[in-house]
C-alpha cells in the first residue's frame, strides 16, 4: 500500500468542520470524482446503474452520483473512494469513452441543516446567484461564487454541496464560513 500521507485541500491532516447555529459544514475529503465524456462511436453507458442526468440535474444511487457538466459530459461522484483509483473503476464501466481522474481537481464542502430547507436557502442567497425556488433537490449547476467557479449541488432539501477548485479551497472555505456565520446572526 502507498505510504505517502495525503493532506486535505485545506492543508490539514483531517477534514475541517464547522457548526454555526443550525448550519453545519464539512470538507468532504473522501469524495472521489471522475469525469466522463462520451466518444462518438462507443456504446451508450449507464455507469454503476445510473441514468446519466439531464442538464442542471444530479442523480444518486448507492453511494455513486452524477451531475451534468456539458453536452456529452458528466461528473461522477463516489462517496468515500477518494484514496482509490475511482477513474479506473469508471473506465471499466464505460469502455470506449473518455474518463479522467478529477478527485483532486476539486474540494467539496457539504453544508447541511437539521432545521430543513430554510437555512440552506438563506445561505444560498448570500453566496450564489441561483433562484432557490428552482433549485430543488436533484439540481446541480456551475456558477460563480465570490470570483470563483464552483459547482453547486442540492443533494436534499437540507443539504447543499459546493465543489470548487482544490487550489482555491482556503478561499472557498472562508467565503462559505462567512456566509454561514452571516445568516446565523441574530438581528439586533
Amino acid at each position: 500500500m502507498a505510504d505517502l500521507i495525503p493532506i486535505t485541500a485545506l492543508g490539514l491532516a483531517q477534514p475541517k468542520s464547522l457548526t454555526v447555529g443550525s448550519l453545519s459544514m464539512t470538507e468532504n475529503t473522501g469524495l472521489a470524482l471522475a469525469s466522463l465524456a462520451l466518444r462518438r462511436d462507443a456504446e451508450a453507458v449507464c455507469p454503476f446503474g445510473l441514468v446519466l442526468p439531464e442538464p442542471g440535474r444530479w442523480v444518486e444511487k448507492d453511494g455513486v452520483a452524477s451531475f451534468w457538466m456539458g453536452p456529452g459530459q458528466w461528473m461522477l461522484e463516489a462517496r468515500g473512494k477518494a484514496e482509490e483509483d475511482f477513474s479506473a473503476e469508471l473506465k471499466q464501466q464505460c469502455p470506449g469513452h473518455s474518463v479522467t481522474e478529477q478527485t483532486d481537481s476539486f474540494a467539496a464542502f457539504e453544508i447541511s441543516s437539521p432545521a430543513g430547507a430554510a437555512p440552506i436557502i438563506a445561505v444560498m442567497t448570500k453566496l450564489v446567484n441561483i433562484d432557490p425556488r428552482g433549485f430543488t433537490p436533484g439540481s446541480a449547476t456551475r456558477t460563480g461564487l465570490a470570483h470563483m467557479n464552483v459547482f453547486a449541488i442540492r443533494r436534499a432539501d437540507d443539504h447543499l454541496a459546493v465543489l470548487g477548485m482544490r487550489s482555491l479551497a482556503a478561499c472557498l472555505w472562508h467565503e462559505l464560513e462567512r456566509a454561514l456565520k452571516g445568516v446565523s446572526e441574530v438581528p439586533a
Binding site: M1, A2, D3, L4, I5, P6, I7, T8, A9, G11, T29, S35, A37, L38, R39, R40, D41, G72, Q73, A82, D85, S98, T100, E101, Q102, T103, D104, S105, F106, M124, T125, K126, L127, V128, N129, I130, D131, P132, R133, A146, H147, M148, M165, R166, S167, L168, A169, A170, C171, H174, R178, G182, E185, P187, A188
Partner: protein, 976 residues
C-alpha cells in the same frame, strides 16, 4: 421647536453632538429633525459662495444639510442629515467651512459672486500658464469639494447577497404598499423595498384619514397583514439604486448605519435582485420656486415643513409662512396651525387661491426677497399694487411635484412632458418588466396613489400569469393640486435653482448668452444637477427657465436623464465585502504547507501563491539564496513545485488530429510514451503559448501550458473543439489542480527518482530524454513521470494526485539528502531557464513570432495549424529581430530587462532602436548577469558589442551578443 405628537418615541431620549455642542433628541428623530427641535437652523455652507444654509427637505433629495457623520475611521462625509437616524452618542460636524459654521472665511466668495458665476473657470486662471500647476490648481483643489475623508482604512464589514422574486416593488408609500399587498395576496413572490426606516412614505406625514383611521393606525394594521404573508419580503432601509440588465436591480440595505456601532453585523449589504417584474413607486419630489435670496436657512420645501411637523413633531420656527402655486401649500399651513405654529401668511401666486384654513392668504402674490443671514427673519411679498415685508422664521415653498423618474431612465428611457400636470412623467420606454405607480407617474394624491398601486399590481400579476384578486381600497378624501405653473419669480438679485452646486437663475441666463442652450450643455457648463443630489430639486426648474429664455416649450427644451446610483452609495458596499487578502481569490500549490514550514518566501504569480525562494539561516540577501539553489541544482538535484503550469487532458479518436491543428509543429507523429515540446500560435500568426504534449496512450494526451496562459489556452482549446472543429471526436478537461507536479532536475535526478518510483527502469535506454509513462511511486501510488527539463540539466517531472503532493515533496527531500537535494523556487527556476535560453512569458508577450523566437522552422509547412498561414504573411516576414543572449562586457555590470538596444555610437532615438532585453538574471554559472533579448539581425551579429540603454535611470551598459544557451549548449546533460 418641539411640537406635540409625531411618530417619535419620547420615552427614549438620545444625546448627540453637532459641531462639538451637545443636544438631545428622541428615538425616531433624524439628525435634521433633532437639530430643528433644538432651533439649530444653520447646518452648512454652500459649495461655491459659502452662503449659510439650512435643512431644505425631509428626505434623500436633501441638497444643503450635508454633514460629516461619526468620527475616526468610520467618519463619512456628505451624509444627508435628513436621512440619518438619530442614535445615542451620534457625532456630526458641518462641512465646507473654516474656521466655523458661523464665521466662515470663504464667505468672502459671496462678495465676489459676479466673478464666480457659472463657467468662470473657463475664463480665469489661464495666465500666466506656468501658474496653473503649482499655484492655481492646488488652491482650487483645497477650496473645492465638500466633506473630507478620514484617510484611515474603513474598519466596517460589508456583505452581499442575491434575491429572486416575481415582483420587486420599489418604494413603500401608499402606491407601493397597495401594489405589494395586491401582488402578494395573489401568490406572487414579492419584495417590497423602501429607503426609509419605516414603511409609509408620505403617509407618515399625512393627517388625512384612511377608512376613518389615522395614517399611523392604518399603516400599523397593514404591516400586520404584510407580516403574515410568507411570500412577501419587506426590506426597510433599502435603496434600490439602479435598474440593470436582464431584470437585475441593485439595492443597498443599510443594516447597521442607524446603530452606534455595527457590532458583528455588516454595516451595509449589497443585494442583486433579479425580478421578473417591477413596480416603481418611488414617489415625487416637491419643486421649489426660485426667488431673490431664496436660499436662507429656514426656507424649505413646504412638504418638508409638513413632514417635520406631522412625523417628527418639530418646526424650524414658531412663526412660518408658505409660498405656493398649488393646494399642497395650504395643506401644510393647515397642519402646522393645528400643531400650534403661527402662520404669518400663505402667499399664493394664483389669483383664485382657496381659503382652506384660519390663516391669511395673499392671492396673486409672490415672494420677492428675504432677510436674515444665519436664519430667515422676514420675507418680501409683492403683488400688483405693492409689496410688504412679513416677519417669519421659516418659509415653506411649494412649486408643484416632480415625479421621481430616476430609475426609468437607467436604460436610456426618456421621460415625457405632461402638459396637464406640468411635469415630466415616465415615457413609454421603460426598463423591461417595469411598471410605474403613484406619484412617480404623476398620480400622487393619496386616493390616486392607492388606486394606481393596486392597478399596477393587477397589471404585473397578469403579465406573470397569476390571477389577481380584487383589492379593496381604503376610503380617503379626494384632493386635487389645482396647480398653476410658476417656474421662478422674475426680478433682480440672485435666485437659487441648484442649491448644492450654487447655481442661480442668473447662471442659466449666462449659459443662454454663451449659447450653452441645449440641456446637456446647460447642465455641464453651469454644473447644475451635477452634485450628489443629481439635481433632484433643480433639474426641471432649470429647464423651465431655459425654455422661457429660448421661447421654446419645456418638452421642446428636453431633459437630461439619470444614471445609477439613485442616491450616493459607498464604494465599499459595491465591493461586497471582499477586501484585503480577500479582494482576489488566491490559489495555493499542493506543497504549500511544506514550503511554509521551510520558511519559503512566497510571490504572487497571477492567482497563485508560489514559493519564490527558500532562505537558509545565514543568508542575508535573496541573491545568496537563489544562487545557492541554482548551483545546488546543477551540482546535485533540485526539486520545484510546478503544479501551476496548466494541464489539459485530451482524449478521443481524433485527439491526434486535433493537436496537430493546434500546435504549429507536427504533433500527430508523436509516439505513445513520448513527450514533445509544442508551440501554439494565435490566429494572427504571433506566438501564443508554449508547452509540452505527452502521449500517454493511443488516444490519450496531456497538454501543458505556461502558468499565466493556463486559462486562455484551455479556453482556446475548448473554442477549437466546440466551434472550429465540432466534427472531431475529441474530449478535454483541465487537470491543473488534480495532479501535483514536481520538477526533479540535476545530475542526481535519476538516482533520486529511482528511490521513489516502484519497479521501473529509468535508465537512459529504457526511459530516454522526452519519454513519459504512467507508473506508481512510494508503494503503489498512481503517478506519472515525464522526462522533460527546462533548466538544461538531466530532468524529470513527476506527478501524483494533488493530495499526496505535500508528502511527496517531503519524501523526495528526505531521500535526497545524500544526493545534495535542494528545493528551489520560482526565482531559481527563472535563472536556470534563462541560462538555458528558454523562452517564457517575457518572450511570449503576444508581440513576438516563432521566427523571432528562433523557432521559425518549427512552424510546419506540411500541415495547417492555427496561425500558420498568417505567420507567413509579408508583414511578419519583414521582422528582423531575433532572440539572442547578452553578456555585459564588464561582469560587474547589471543587465536590465526592458533596456533598449543600440549599435555602439548610435544616437539613441526611436529610429535607431534595434530591439529590447526581454529577460535578465544573475547567472552563478557565468558569474555575471545575463540576458535574453530580441535584436535586429541578431543571428548575424554574434560577438558584436552593442549598448543596452535604460534612459529613465541613466544606465548604459555595453553588451556582447552571444548565443541564447549559456549552459550545456550541446545538451549533453539533458540527454544523458
Amino acid at each position: 421647536m418641539r411640537l406635540s405628537g409625531g411618530v417619535i418615541d419620547r420615552s427614549k431620549p438620545l444625546q448627540f453632538s453637532f459641531d462639538g455642542r451637545s443636544y438631545s433628541g428622541y428615538a425616531g428623530d433624524t439628525l435634521a429633525s433633532a437639530l430643528l427641535a433644538n432651533d439649530v437652523r444653520l447646518v452648512g455652507r454652500s459649495f461655491k459662495y459659502h452662503r449659510p444654509r439650512g435643512v431644505f427637505s425631509a428626505g434623500s433629495e436633501e441638497p444643503n444639510a450635508l454633514v460629516e457623520l461619526r468620527s475616526g475611521a468610520r467618519k463619512e462625509p456628505n451624509t444627508r442629515a435628513t436621512m440619518v437616524e438619530l442614535f445615542e452618542g451620534l457625532e456630526a460636524t458641518s462641512q465646507n467651512r473654516w474656521p466655523s459654521l458661523k464665521f466662515d472665511a470663504l464667505a468672502i466668495n459671496d462678495l465676489f459672486s459676479d466673478f464666480l458665476t457659472a463657467g468662470f473657470y473657463y475664463k480665469t486662471f489661464m495666465w500666466p500658464k506656468a501658474f496653473w500647476e503649482k499655484l492655481y490648481e492646488p488652491i482650487i483643489r483645497r477650496a473645492a469639494g465638500l466633506g473630507s475623508l478620514s484617510m484611515q482604512a474603513d474598519p466596517d464589514v460589508y456583505d452581499k447577497g442575491f434575491l429572486h422574486a416575481d415582483l420587486l416593488v420599489i418604494g413603500g408609500g401608499a402606491a407601493g404598499l397597495m401594489a405589494a399587498l395586491g401582488a402578494a395576496r395573489a401568490g406572487a413572490d414579492v419584495i417590497l423595498a423602501d429607503e426609509g426606516s419605516e414603511l409609509g412614505g408620505r403617509l407618515l406625514a399625512e393627517t388625512d384619514t384612511l377608512d376613518g383611521k389615522s395614517a399611523a393606525d392604518w399603516l400599523r394594521s397593514l404591516e400586520g397583514e404584510l407580516a403574515q404573508l410568507p411570500n412577501l419580503k419587506v426590506m426597510r432601509r433599502t435603496t434600490v439604486f439602479g435598474a440593470f440588465d436582464h431584470g437585475i436591480y441593485g439595492a443597498v440595505e443599510r443594516v447597521s448605519d442607524h446603530l452606534p456601532v455595527p457590532g458583528n453585523r455588516p454595516r451595509q449589504t449589497l443585494w442583486r435582485v433579479t425580478a421578473r417584474r417591477s413596480i416603481l413607486a418611488g414617489g415625487a419630489i416637491e419643486r421649489h420656486i426660485p426667488f431673490r435670496d431664496n436660499d436662507r436657512p429656514g426656507i424649505m420645501q413646504s412638504s418638508a415643513l409638513r413632514a417635520f411637523a406631522n412625523r417628527w413633531a418639530v418646526s424650524p420656527a414658531s412663526r412660518v409662512a408658505i409660498f405656493t402655486n398649488n393646494d399642497s401649500g395650504h395643506c401644510a399651513a393647515r397642519d402646522l396651525l393645528a400643531k400650534g405654529v403661527e402662520i404669518a401668511a400663505v402667499v399664493d401666486s394664483r389669483g383664485d387661491a382657496p381659503q382652506q384654513g384660519d390663516f391669511r392668504v395673499i392671492r396673486g402674490a409672490m415672494v420677492t426677497g428675504s432677510k436674515g443671514r444665519h436664519g430667515l427673519a422676514s420675507i418680501e411679498v409683492s403683488r400688483p399694487g405693492g409689496s410688504e415685508w412679513i416677519s417669519c422664521g421659516a418659509l415653506g415653498v411649494s412649486g408643484g411635484w416632480n415625479p421621481n423618474v430616476h430609475l426609468i431612465s437607467h436604460h436610456r428611457g426618456r421621460p415625457v412632458w405632461d402638459a396637464e400636470l406640468h411635469a415630466f412623467v415616465p415615457g413609454p420606454d421603460l426598463p423591461k418588466g417595469m411598471t410605474v405607480a403613484g406619484a412617480a407617474k404623476g398620480e400622487g394624491s393619496l386616493h390616486a396613489a392607492l388606486r394606481s398601486g393596486a392597478e399596477a399590481a393587477m397589471a404585473s400579476l397578469q403579465q406573470l400569469g397569476l390571477r389577481p384578486e380584487a383589492l379593496r381600497l381604503p376610503e380617503v378624501e379626494v384632493r386635487e393640486e389645482n396647480l398653476q405653473p410658476l417656474w421662478h419669480v422674475p426680478g433682480k438679485g440672485r435666485a437659487w435653482v441648484d442649491f448644492q452646486n450654487d447655481v442661480t437663475v442668473k447662471d442659466i441666463k449666462l449659459a443662454y448668452q454663451e449659447n450653452m442652450r441645449p440641456v446637456e450643455h446647460l447642465k455641464r457648463w453651469t454644473t447644475l444637477g451635477m452634485a450628489t443630489d443629481q439635481g433632484k430639486t433643480s433639474n426641471v426648474t432649470a429647464l423651465a427657465v431655459m425654455a422661457e429664455l429660448t421661447g421654446k416649450s419645456i418638452p421642446q427644451t428636453g431633459t437630461t436623464i439619470f444614471r445609477p446610483p439613485y442616491t450616493p452609495i459607498s464604494l465599499a458596499v459595491l465591493g461586497g465585502g471582499d477586501t484585503g487578502t480577500n479582494f482576489r481569490p488566491r490559489r495555493l500549490t499542493p506543497s504549500h504547507q511544506w514550503a511554509k514550514t521551510k520558511g519559503a518566501v512566497f510571490v504572487e504569480v497571477g492567482q497563485w501563491l508560489r514559493a519564490q525562494y527558500f532562505p537558509q539561516p545565514g543568508e542575508a540577501h535573496w541573491r545568496q539564496t537563489v544562487d545557492r539553489e541554482v548551483l545546488a541544482t546543477r551540482r546535485g538535484v533540485g526539486i520545484c513545485d510546478v503544479t501551476t503550469l496548466g494541464k489539459v487532458d485530451v482524449q478521443g479518436a481524433d485527439a491526434a488530429e486535433f493537436l496537430d491543428r493546434l500546435y504549429c509543429n507536427p504533433m500527430k507523429s508523436l509516439k505513445v510514451g513520448m513527450v514533445r515540446y509544442g508551440l501554439m500560435l494565435r490566429e494572427d500568426g504571433h506566438a501564443f503559448d508554449d508547452g509540452t504534449c505527452a502521449r500517454l496512450a493511443e488516444n490519450h494526451y496531456v497538454v501543458t501550458s505556461t502558468t499565466a496562459q493556463a486559462g486562455p489556452v484551455y479556453r482556446h482549446m475548448e473554442f477549437a473543439r466546440q466551434c472550429l472543429w465540432p466534427e472531431l471526436d475529441v474530449q478535454l478537461i483541465s487537470t491543473t489542480d488534480a495532479w501535483a507536479q514536481f520538477s526533479v532536475a540535476g545530475p542526481n535526478a535519476r538516482r533520486l527518482l529511482q528511490r521513489v518510483v516502484d519497479d521501473a527502469d529509468l535508465s537512459n535506454e529504457a526511459f530516454p530524454f522526452m519519454a513519459c509513462a504512467n507508473l506508481t511511486v512510494c508503494g503503489g501510488l498512481r503517478a506519472r513521470l515525464f522526462r522533460i527539463s527546462f533548466c538544461g540539466e538531466l530532468g524529470y517531472e513527476v506527478a501524483v494526485p494533488a493530495r499526496y503532493g505535500n508528502a511527496l515533496m517531503a519524501r523526495l527531500m528526505e531521500l535526497g539528502v545524500d544526493l545534495g537535494a535542494v528545493v528551489y523556487g520560482t526565482e531559481a527556476l527563472g535563472v536556470m531557464r534563462i541560462e538555458k535560453g528558454h523562452a517564457a512569458g517575457n518572450e511570449l508577450n503576444g508581440q513576438t513570432t516563432a521566427q523571432m523566437l528562433g523557432m521559425g522552422r518549427m512552424v510546419s509547412s506540411k500541415k495547417d495549424a492555427i496561425g500558420a498561414v498568417m505567420s507567413r504573411r509579408p508583414g511578419l516576414q519583414l521582422e528582423t529581430r531575433v532572440l539572442v543572449g547578452l553578456r555585459p562586457l564588464d561582469p560587474a555590470e547589471p543587465v536590465v530587462a526592458g533596456s533598449h538596444l543600440f549599435a555602439e555610437g548610435a544616437v539613441q532615438k526611436t529610429e535607431n532602436d534595434q530591439g529590447w532585453i526581454s529577460s535578465a538574471a544573475f547567472s552563478p554559472h557565468m558569474a555575471s548577469a545575463i540576458g535574453l533579448a530580441f535584436l535586429t539581425n541578431g543571428g548575424d551579429r554574434m560577438g558584436e558589442v552593442i549598448i543596452a540603454a535604460n534612459p529613465l535611470q541613466g544606465q548604459q551598459v555595453a553588451m556582447r551578443v552571444v548565443p541564447t544557451v549559456f549552459v550545456d549548449p550541446e545538451g549533453e546533460r539533458l540527454r544523458g
